[in-house]
């Protein structure tokens, strides 16, 4: 890729106001800045051209005020987003022009990376031998890391276990299910709609997939049919009613991995969450429910990348991305696809593919 004259403008999406419920276009503002010239960079700084951005459920939480595992995005700040980019100017000896990196680039076409962020390891070079740019946002990126450590370290699956994962066609869910299959589990997905469920089974190789849109009673029947001995590991990306129902089918000693709760993120005020009313099933079944935040495992990402890239290379695992065109201005519409569950696979915004 060459940087053309047209790329002297950096388009950005900034948070204009905090949403109540589902974000609307009013919550965003498209701004333009001129791209810094290479000569403007301070020692240690980098200028990165965004290639692709990751669209994640966690983004909804970042838009809310209040304490969480990272601070909220401030009003008027560029929206936080992970992405893959290419170094177009470097005053840092560790990075050369042309290097491809993974970093929190933000929803913008160019990101100026501060020396301090480089120093504390906030970005890293990706190895295209191991995967494409979008795979580095998926199986080899945050969703893959979340799936890997959430499943293996928190879920502790044993061969022969039955694993259920919600958001099965999503970024984290697809890798959780495929990895659990590799580890010898019987794998049952939960996803929305027949088409998606068929895709989860035929494309991703899950043993079965339950369509939550078919209603509570169908979901109960599906769990009974596909998990006759109960659920040993439940990897939860959605919360709400689905979590409630799965809790009624826990096996003795089950592990519930709390990875997210996408069904609850857009409730009024974004914080009125429905608690799992069957949580006493944890008592009856001596089960546990535990949260995972992927950043805690940063020092072990290389181990996960090596193992997952091996599975991609030998064909035991697929990395499925749903890539949206349109660049930075298409951000809002693309994000909504995530919350309406339209995506088949990891949702990615192409910025300069």
């Amino acid at each position: 890729m060459t940087i053309t004259a047209a790329a002297s403008i950096n388009r950005q999406i900034r948070l204009a106001s905090r949403p109540t419920g589902l974000p609307t276009s009013e919550n965003w503002r498209l701004t333009e800045e001129s791209v810094p010239d290479a000569s403007e960079l301070a020692d240690g700084e980098l200028l990165v051209r965004t290639l692709a951005l990751s669209l994640d459920p966690a983004m909804r939480g970042w838009m809310n005020e209040g304490k969480s595992y990272i601070p909220p995005v401030g009003i008027d700040e560029v929206m936080r987003a992970g992405g893959i980019g290419r170094v177009v100017a470097s005053k840092n000896p560790s990075f050369a022009v042309g290097d491809e990196v993974s970093a929190l680039l933000g929803v913008q076409e160019f990101a100026r990376i501060r020396a301090e962020d480089v120093r504390r390891g906030a970005l890293f070079k990706i190895d295209r031998q191991l995967g494409t740019a979008t795979q580095w946002l998926n199986v080899l990126g945050m969703p893959g890391m979340t799936a890997y450590f959430g499943l293996l370290d928190v879920g502790e699956p044993q061969a022969g276990n039955t694993l259920v994962v919600s958001g099965a066609a999503g970024a984290v869910g697809q890798t959780v299910g495929q990895l659990a299959k590799i580890k010898g589990c019987r794998v049952v997905g939960i996803a929305g709609g027949k088409a998606k469920c068929d895709w989860v089974v035929s494309e991703l190789g899950f043993d079965a997939c339950i369509d939550y849109k078919a209603g509570q009673s169908a979901m109960r029947d599906g769990l009974k049919q596909y998990c006759p001995d109960g659920v040993d590991v439940y990897f939860d990306n959605v919360g709400g009613e689905i979590l409630d129902i799965v809790m009624t089918r826990l096996a003795r000693g089950a592990r519930i991995v709390i990875c997210g709760a996408i069904s609850q993120y857009n409730n009024d005020s974004g914080t009125a969450v429905a608690g799992p009313k069957n949580y006493l099933s944890l008592l009856v079944n001596r089960a546990r429910m535990e949260g995972i935040v992927v950043f805690d495992y940063a020092s072990r990402y290389p181990e996960a990348v090596a193992e997952l890239a091996g599975y991609l290379a030998n064909g035991r695992m697929k990395s499925k991305e749903d890539v949206i065109a349109g660049g930075v201005p298409a951000f809002h519409d693309a994000l909504l696809k995530l919350f309406s569950g339209e995506n088949f696979g990891k949702l990615v915004l192409d910025v300069a593919g």
Copy 2:
């Protein structure tokens, strides 16, 4: 004790119907049977005179239909209850007349113990050197075992941790808090009413106790004041609103031990439980919530009894019982005291003290 002629009648409390919400006197039937003569016992059987019965929150669950960790009490069956009794007739070489035993005697004055139950270890001799009969229903009995394994195996307290326990003046709570103090924790109780809170601090030696009856806002303030660095271990006996509020104060990596949910047992139908709406705090704080069922630790009770009896002997721990007089006919009224939270210490029904 000698068995007098008057003791030829065995009074029993049977479950007449299943309650909705709080049990009423209509749910019980007082029946009388004649006490079996020693000559009627089959080989291996025992006849046990009940001395004291344990009144437990779990009893409410046993009255409900449906799958749990043990089957429900059947309609017309003698209500299940743990107790301490004295062998008054024995056709089992392992037990002599006069031995004192702990067993599920049921709410009745005499229990005929089947050979099969003796064989599978459903009763055991208590050692009066280690504690009184009521202490064997408390610190040395099920509540103590629950506290010991729930706290140490599931809660995993570290010296310097802050531990919060609800139902602090109750059977399990008192031992959880005292044991956590011995293990080097800062211990904060939650109990109902100023008198009970004062008692928890002055009698049991907790660092502080929060009165949940003072309201949500006082509870939040108390947690902030007494747990400035958050809650490392929360041992939950009550569920509901108190669980919700404690969840807002979890420290990173916190452990929540789900031991019970007495606030929820008497909801309509006994099964409509309020889920913990702040459960995503598990995610933010990489915390876990795990259930404990004491029966899983049966093979390790001797280890716990030895340690706890040592603390009783050297005065580092107290075993506080609230003993109700009146025998078997007083069972219903005594049980209600438990659900209204009137008891200071482990609630025990004296049957033939």
